[in-house]
Each structure stands twice: as structure tokens, then as C-alpha cells.
């Protein structure tokens, strides 16, 4: 009945959805932001620890939501560790293209490995109402990087 849904819910998504990595509060975070998807009730709080050079030393989150949003947050925190703010922004743009269209033609070779890791979420582009579940974590990341404790929304 649901076999064709293995595109969307690949094993890696289900796994990250069930056991999200970096699901914890960073007590000594330099930056944090809250994200909210009023559409489906997903909420998260993201914490970043920055290295002296401004790059992301550690990333973690708290929150709950659907498998897509949890997996996306989990993969995002794994992927951005060690990245500069500029790289992280660029990754976020690439990911949004991936989530909305299924591919990211503009993603250069420099981010190829990271995009590869995020690829399992590309199936979401066939489900317009679910795209925001996938992008919430990245919206929240932008909010955190842009320096506030702003509230992000994927609507």
C-alpha cells in the first residue's frame, strides 16, 4: 500500500526521525533561536556553540515534530558542524532548493559531500505541504546565525 513512500521515508529518515542526533540543550550556547511551523505544530529550539573564528563548533536542538522535521534537524546539526556561517547559509540555500525541487543544480562541487548527506530528504519536494517540515531547521539556523534569539517560522 505504501511501498512508493519509501522514496520519502527512506530508512535513514526513519532512523534519524526515531533517534535524532544532537537532541539536547547546549548549556553554554553562544547563539540560539526558536523555530515554529504553525502549519503542522512543529516547534524547535536550536543551540549553537561558535569557535573563536566564528565557525560552528557545536549544534544541538530540542523540540518535537514529525519524522521529516526531526530527521531534518538531526541531519542539519550533523552537517553544519565545523562550517563557517557563510558556508552554513549556503548549505541552507542548497537544501531549500533540494526540498522544493528535488535537486540543486546550483550547488557547486565544494558542498557536494554535504549535499549528498542531505539527499535523502529530497523526496519531500513531491509533497508541497511537507516541504516546510523539512526546511524549518534551516530557517531556524539562519535565525540563530543572524544573531538573535529571534523566532523563526517556516511559513
Amino acid at each position: 500500500m505504501f511501498d512508493d513512500l519509501r522514496d520519502l521515508y527512506q530508512e535513514v529518515i526513519l532512523d534519524h526521525g526515531r533517534k535524532p542526533r544532537n537532541l539536547r540543550r547546549l548549556q553554554d550556547a553562544d547563539r540560539s533561536a526558536k523555530g515554529d511551523n504553525p502549519m503542522c505544530g512543529d516547534r524547535m529550539e536550536l543551540f549553537l556553540k561558535l569557535a573563536p573564528d566564528g565557525s560552528i563548533a557545536d549544534a544541538a536542538f530540542e523540540g518535537r515534530g514529525c519524522a521529516i522535521s526531526m530527521a531534518s534537524a538531526s541531519l542539519m546539526t550533523e552537517t553544519v558542524k565545523g562550517k563557517s556561517a557563510a558556508e552554513a547559509h549556503k548549505l541552507g540555500e542548497g537544501f531549500r532548493a533540494l526540498a522544493m525541487t528535488g535537486t540543486c543544480p546550483d550547488c557547486g562541487a565544494s558542498l557536494a559531500d554535504e549535499m549528498e548527506r542531505l539527499q535523502p530528504l529530497s523526496g519531500v519536494h513531491e509533497f508541497p505541504s511537507r516541504v516546510k517540515c523539512a526546511t524549518l531547521a534551516w530557517h531556524t539556523l539562519n535565525a540563530a546565525l543572524d544573531g538573535g534569539s529571534k523566532e523563526a517560522s517556516s511559513e
Partner: protein, 409 residues
């Protein structure tokens, strides 16, 4: 006339659609119902044969359109068994109707120190306008009647919150859009009136499922929305006693709601025109009239009986599913079921069901406080039935839910 669901389904062109290669199983009628051909055709006829702006037109087309518009008002009055068509005010939807009362009655008639009493099972449309009234600095309090664990109104709490006589208005959903609970409306009216409070029922869900009768009910205001009653979007109804309309200042200002206008002083038209500013939803009123004719021809008792069968069937089939939990278990309930699966988030579940052709809603269904009350902040899935829903569709839903649980296991 016996209720023949197969024949009824043929009146709804959209029900023959395929979704992702599977026949559409539309279980989101509680959010908005599909439209029978009769409604669509009435709107087409209105636009292609009898269209002009209403009122004030001294020519034949405008007279025809005006007659159609006022005939729709009369049809709503008959549908509600209202004493007088002038008790029927057309608005844009239920939300606009409740806001009208919150402004015109809440700000225009209620006094500081009074309270509005709602309940935990309300739709946001019957929460937010009253919060805005409370927060408007007019000294109006907002009280919330509790809901029991089985999803019914806590009548003791209602009595307690009415006891000090400060409640000016009780505003409660006649039927919950999440729990399916139908509240004991007559009792509420009796209790509220005894405590000196007026009563508004949000009938957005109730009128779709039950015969309602304004003269028997004795309430003060009643609200519903066209698109859930197999009618068009863009139209809602506020039923309000004439004596209340007299006391209420107008809400929106503009054309058609005035008797005379000068820059110094403007006087209002008689009810209900006073509350219908600007060009009304003319074509939508015609469509709503056709929708009312449609359900009336089938007969609300037949609709209700069909739904009772569906509810019993769904109760049986859904309780059989491992890991599935239903929200609420009211004695008196309509065809709305909110549920969760132990191993799937509501949104993932809805996506799975969509792949099977099943349309259910996921989220908090504009009833966030109710979801908090039941500890399901993450939301639920909701299957809601219409008069075209079949037992076979419910069986298919149950089968899909079972398979979904396996999928996520």
C-alpha cells in the same frame, strides 16, 4: 425516501476523482465539504442568467438578483426554523459572524465587569475574538468552561462559572470539530438564561449533521458557515434575534447598511441590512440556498441516521486498531474522529494516508487549547464524514491505518 449513498455520491462530481492513482476517499468534510452539482449549477445560473447587483436597482435583472438573494435568506430562515427571515444576517463565514457579535454585542452592548464564557473545546474562531474583546481594555473577562476526560462539557463547571451572574454571554460550539461532541444545547440555554446570560452557539459543525430549530432552542445567536454545509465558500450566517439586532450598533460601515448619510450624521438601516455593509455575496447566497434545498430534500433526519451508522461503524473499526488512540468519547457525537498512532506523528500519518488516496487533516484543527487539554500538543489526524461517506471508505481507512503502523514500526 430511503438514503441511497451510491446515488448521492453521483451528485458530487469530485468524488469520482483519482488521487495518486487511487480513488479519492475524502474524509475531510469537517474542514470543508464537497459541493453537489445542484449547488454549482445554481451558481452558474445566477452568473449566466440572473446576475446584477442587488437592492437599489430598478431594472429587471437587479430585481431578479434581489429576489434570489432574499429567497436565500428565507431559505436559511426555514432551515433554522427561525421566526422571521430578518433574523438572518449574511456574513463571509462563521468567523466573521462571531467577530460581528464580539464587536457589536461585545463592545456595543456588554458592560465592564461582565464576562464571556466559552469552553475548552472551541475552535479558534470562537476563542480569539473573545480574547481580543478581553484584551481591549473594556473590563470584559473571559472564562473557560472545562471539558471532561471523555470530551464532554463539564456541566458542573459551567454552572459554577455562571453562578455569580456576571456572565453576559455564553459562546459555545454546538458540536466540536475535533471531538465530535454535541453539547446539550437546550440545557445550556436554560442555565445561561437563568443566570442572566445570552447564548451564542457556533453551529459550524452542528448544522451539517443535525436538524436545528431556533424556535425550539431558544438561543440568542447562532452561527454557521456555507462551505461546510455543501455550499459555497465566501458566505456565512449569523442568526440573531431582532430585539438583539436593534440594540447592536453596526459593525462594518458602508453602502446598503445606512438609511441616510451626511458628513455630520448617518443613520442606520433596519435589521438585518444594518449588518450587511457593501455588496453581499450574491452568487454565494444562491449557492447556499441550493445547498439547503439539497440537504432538505434528502432530509436532515436521514442525514443524521446515515451518520449515526457511520459513527458506530467507525467506532468499531478504529477501536480494533493496535496503537490507535481516539480523542474523546462523548455519548452524543457526530461524525468527526481525531486520533493518533503510537508510532507515527500526525503529519507523517496524513502523508501516508494521502498516498492511499485518503484525505484526512493533520494538526490541531484550529483547536490548539483543546489539544493541549488532552496532552496532544503535536496534533492529531482527523477523519470527518459527510453525507456521501460510506462504510467501505471507513474500512479502507482502518486497513490503511493498520498498514501505516507496520510501515513506521
Amino acid at each position: 425516501m430511503s438514503f441511497d449513498v451510491a446515488r448521492i455520491r453521483q451528485d458530487f462530481p469530485i468524488l469520482g476523482s483519482m488521487v495518486r492513482g487511487k480513488p479519492l476517499v475524502f474524509l475531510d468534510s469537517g474542514a470543508s465539504a464537497q459541493k453537489p452539482r445542484a449547488v454549482v449549477q445554481a451558481m452558474v445560473r445566477s452568473m449566466e442568467e440572473r446576475y446584477a447587483n442587488v437592492h437599489r436597482g430598478a431594472y429587471q435583472l437587479s430585481e431578479a438578483a434581489t429576489a434570489d438573494y432574499e429567497a436565500a435568506r428565507a431559505a436559511v430562515a426555514r432551515f433554522l426554523n427561525a421566526a422571521d427571515p430578518r433574523e438572518v444576517i449574511f456574513t463571509g463565514n462563521s468567523t466573521a459572524a462571531i467577530n460581528l457579535v464580539a464587536h457589536s454585542w461585545g463592545r456595543g452592548v456588554m458592560r465592564p465587569g461582565q464576562a464571556v464564557l466559552i469552553s475548552e473545546l472551541e475552535h479558534h474562531a470562537n476563542i480569539v475574538p473573545w480574547q481580543m474583546l478581553r484584551d481591549d481594555g473594556r473590563g470584559i473577562e473571559l472564562r473557560v468552561c472545562r471539558v471532561t476526560d471523555s470530551g464532554e462539557l463539564d456541566m458542573e463547571d459551567l454552572a459554577a462559572k455562571l453562578a455569580d451572574g456576571k456572565v453576559g454571554l455564553v459562546s459555545i460550539a454546538h458540536m466540536s470539530n475535533v471531538l465530535g461532541t454535541v453539547v446539550p444545547a437546550e440545557r445550556i440555554v436554560a442555565m445561561a438564561h437563568a443566570a442572566g446570560a445570552k447564548v451564542l452557539f457556533d453551529g459550524s459543525q452542528a448544522v451539517v449533521h443535525r436538524k436545528v430549530d431556533m424556535q425550539a432552542l431558544g438561543a440568542d445567536f447562532y452561527v454557521f458557515t456555507g462551505h461546510k454545509l455543501y455550499g459555497p465558500t465566501g458566505i456565512g450566517v449569523l442568526w440573531a434575534r431582532l430585539e438583539h439586532q436593534e440594540r447592536m450598533p453596526p459593525f462594518l460601515g458602508g453602502g446598503d447598511m445606512i438609511a441616510s448619510v451626511s458628513f455630520e450624521r448617518t443613520t442606520w438601516a433596519e435589521p438585518p441590512a444594518k449588518f450587511e455593509a457593501g455588496t453581499p455575496p450574491i452568487v454565494e447566497a444562491v449557492g447556499l440556498h441550493a445547498a439547503i434545498d439539497y440537504v432538505t430534500a434528502i432530509g436532515m433526519p436521514a442525514v443524521e441516521a446515515h451518520e449515526r451508522t457511520l459513527v458506530d461503524h467507525a467506532m468499531r473499526r478504529l477501536s480494533d486498531i493496535d496503537g490507535l488512540s481516539l480523542l474523546g468519547a462523548a455519548q452524543d457525537r457526530g461524525g468527526v474522529f481525531a486520533f493518533g498512532l503510537d508510532n507515527a506523528h500526525a503529519h507523517d500519518l496524513a502523508t501516508l494516508l494521502d498516498r492511499a488516496g485518503i484525505a484526512v487533516r493533520a494538526g490541531r484543527h484550529c483547536a490548539e487549547p483543546l489539544h493541549a487539554r488532552f496532552g496532544v500538543e503535536g496534533g492529531t489526524c482527523r477523519a470527518s464524514f459527510g453525507l456521501y461517506t460510506t462504510e467501505a471508505e471507513i474500512d479502507y481507512l482502518a486497513e490503511a491505518l493498520t498498514k501505516a503502523r507496520e510501515f513506521f514500526s
